[in-house]
Symmetry: C2
C-alpha cells in the first residue's frame, strides 16, 4: 500500500497515469487554498468530472475501506483536504457539509492568522482562537483531520492538546534537519507522536536540506532519525508535489487575496516560482525510489511498508468516521 | 449639529421619525456584523429601498458635505459601517469596493479573533496580523475609518500606531469608570487622543456604570473626566442604540456562525437578551437630554456642540476622502 499524504498538482490524465505507474494507491489531494466555500464546491465539481472521465485510473475515497477497494480495483483513491479553513469561511456548520462532500483534512491556518489558528509566517502566535476550539470539536465529531502543516508552533501544540483525536502534519520535515519556518521543532514532533498523530515527510524543495540538491540518502536518513524519536508508526510521506503548475499558482498560494503587495513566502524576488524537484523524486513514478532509499537507510521490509502507506491507512481508519459515541453513563439500578 | 457615532436598530419609519424629533443630523449605522460580502450587499440594497421610500427623513452620506447638505434639507444623514471585517471576507480588494458602496467605518475585529486583529473576548491578543497591516494601509488609502470598538488592547494600540490616519472607537467608555471587557483602558484612550482619534461614548447598558440604572449625571460626569485626559475635541457620542430588535438579534451578534454553543458575551444565561436602556436615553428623541446633561456637568455651549456632533463632523471631514497624495519626491536637478 503506497499512500501520499499531500499533493497539489495541475491535474491531468498524464498525472493520473503516473499515479498508476508509480504504484500510488491513495493520495490526499488539496482542493482549497484560499478558495471560499462556493469556490471549493466548484473544485469538488471539477473532480466529479475527472472521476467520470477516468474511472479506470482514479476514484474518490471517503474511508479506509474505499482506499482498499480502490487498490483492489487497480485505481488510485483520491481523498480531499483543505490547506486553509477558507472553505468553511466563518461558518462552523460548513465542517459537516464539507465532510459530507468528502473533505477529510483541514489545515487550521495557512502561513497567516486564520479565524482558528496562527500560521507559521506571523510574528506572534496566540494559539487556538475561540472559534478554533469550537471547530476542532466539530471536526473531531464528524471525522475531519486537523492538519497543522502550515501553522505556527504554539497553535500546533495547542491543537494537539485540544483535539480529542490524533491530528496530522501532512507535509513538513523536522526543523533540526532543515531549519525552514515550515518545518517542525522536536517539541512539536514529540507531542504529535505521543498523541498518536502522523507526520508526512515532505519532498517540496524548500523543506529539504540542500533544497533541490537534496539526495535520496539524506532524505531517507532524516526519516530514520525521525523514526527514532517519533516511532516508525507515526511517519508517512506527504510529498507536497505541485506538478505542472505555472508559477502564477505559487503566487496564488502565497498571496491569495490578502495583500496588494507580493509576498514570496519560502521563495524570494530572485526565485519567485516553484523550485525544481530533487532528482530522486520528479513525480509520482518515483515512489519506488523512496522505498528503495528507506531500505538502504536501514528500515526492515515491514517498516518500509508502514512508512510508504501502512501508517496512513491505519490513520485513515481511525480518523475518517464519526467520533465513537461516549460510553453510556452507568447509573445505579433503581431499587423501586 | 447632532451626530451619533453608532446605532444598530431594527429600522422603521418610526425610528426615522424619531431621528427628526430628536434633532439627529447624522448617524453611523451598522450594516454588517457577521454578514459576508454578498449578505452585506443585501443590506445596502435594503437601505436603498428605505432611502427611496423616506426621502423626507433620511439620505445616504459619503462625505462631511453630504452631512451638512442633509441637515440643510431637514434630513438625517446615514453613514454606513461594519462591526467586523466579515464583509470583506479574505479579500483586500473589497475594501475599495465597499467604500465605493458607501462604507466609511470598519471594525478590525468583533469580540473574536479576525483575519486582521484580535477581539476583546479572546484570551490572547497577538496584535495586528499580516493581513491586518495590509488592510489598514488600504483603508487609509481609500478613506475608510479603522474602528477598534470591540478589539482587544494590544491590537487597538497597534492599530493606532500602524494607521497613517486617525482611527476611532465609535462606541465604548473608559474602563476606569466601568470595568467591562468592552470598555477601554486609559492607555488606549491616551494613545487614541494623541493620534487625533475619536471616542464615541456608549449608552449600551453593559458599558455603563450601574448598567440600566446609570444616571444622566453619572454619564455626563464620566464624559467630563474623559475630556480632561483626552481633550474635549476627541469625544463624541456613539450610543450603540439597538432599538426594537428581538433578542434573537443579540444572539446573532454574539454567536454569528462561529460556534454551535451559546456564548452570552456581555450578557448571561440568566439575562440573555438586550438590557433595558437607561431612563434618560430610551431612543433618538432623548438626544437633547444629553446636551442638557453635558451643560450641567460643566461644559460650555461650544463644548457641548463639539461633543454632540461637531467633533464627529470634523473627523468625517478628515477621514472619508482618499489619503492626501504623498508629496512628490524631490530629486536633485540633473546638471546635464
Amino acid at each position: 500500500m503506497v499512500i501520499d499524504g499531500l499533493q497539489y498538482a495541475n491535474w491531468s490524465e498524464k498525472i493520473f497515469r503516473q499515479f498508476r505507474e508509480g504504484g500510488v494507491d491513495a493520495v490526499h489531494v488539496t482542493i482549497a487554498y484560499h478558495e471560499n466555500f462556493r469556490e471549493t464546491v466548484l473544485n469538488f465539481e471539477q473532480w466529479n468530472r475527472w472521476f467520470e472521465r477516468h474511472p479506470d485510473l482514479i476514484v474518490q475515497a471517503r474511508t479506509a475501506d474505499d482506499v482498499r477497494a480502490a487498490k483492489a480495483a487497480g485505481c488510485t483513491a483520491i481523498i480531499f483536504g483543505f490547506q486553509n479553513p477558507s472553505a468553511i469561511e466563518d461558518d462552523i456548520g460548513l465542517v459537516e457539509i464539507t465532510h459530507t462532500l468528502g473533505a477529510r483534512f483541514m489545515q487550521l491556518s495557512y502561513n497567516n492568522q486564520s479565524l482558528l489558528a496562527t500560521g507559521c509566517y506571523e510574528a506572534e502566535d496566540p494559539g487556538i482562537t475561540r472559534m478554533g476550539r469550537q471547530v476542532i470539536k466539530e471536526m473531531n465529531r464528524v471525522g475531519m483531520v486537523v492538519d497543522m502543516s502550515h501553522s505556527a508552533e504554539r497553535s500546533t501544540l495547542e491543537a494537539i492538546e485540544i483535539s480529542a483525536r490524533p491530528i496530522a502534519i501532512t507535509h513538513a520535515n523536522p526543523a533540526v534537519w532543515h531549519p525552514a519556518l515550515r518545518n517542525k521543532s522536536d517539541t512539536v514532533l514529540k507531542a504529535l507522536a505521543e498523541s498518536g498523530g502522523m507526520l508526512g515527510c515532505s519532498l517540496y524543495p524548500h523543506h529539504l536540506k540542500d533544497k533541490s540538491d537534496c539526495t535520496l540518502e539524506s532524505f531517507c536518513t532524516m526519516i530514520a532519525r525521525t523514526a527514532e524519536t517519533m516511532g516508525v508508526e507515526r511517519i508517512g510521506i506527504g510529498s507536497d508535489l505541485c506538478q505542472d503548475h505555472p508559477d502564477s499558482i505559487v503566487t496564488w498560494m502565497r498571496v491569495g487575496r490578502w495583500t496588494r503587495e507580493m509576498d514570496y513566502g519560502e521563495g524570494s524576488a530572485a526565485a519567485p516560482g516553484f523550485p525544481p524537484m530533487p532528482d530522486f523524486f520528479a513525480d509520482n513514478r518515483d515512489f519506488p525510489n523512496i522505498a528503495t532509499g528507506l531500505a538502504a537507510a536501514g528500515f526492515s521490509a515491514d517498516e518500509v511498508a508502514l512508512v510508504m502507506g501502512g501508517n496512513w491507512l491505519r490513520f485513515f481508519e481511525e480518523s475518517f468516521g464519526p467520533a465513537p459515541a461516549a460510553p453510556a453513563e452507568v447509573r445505579p439500578m433503581s431499587v423501586a
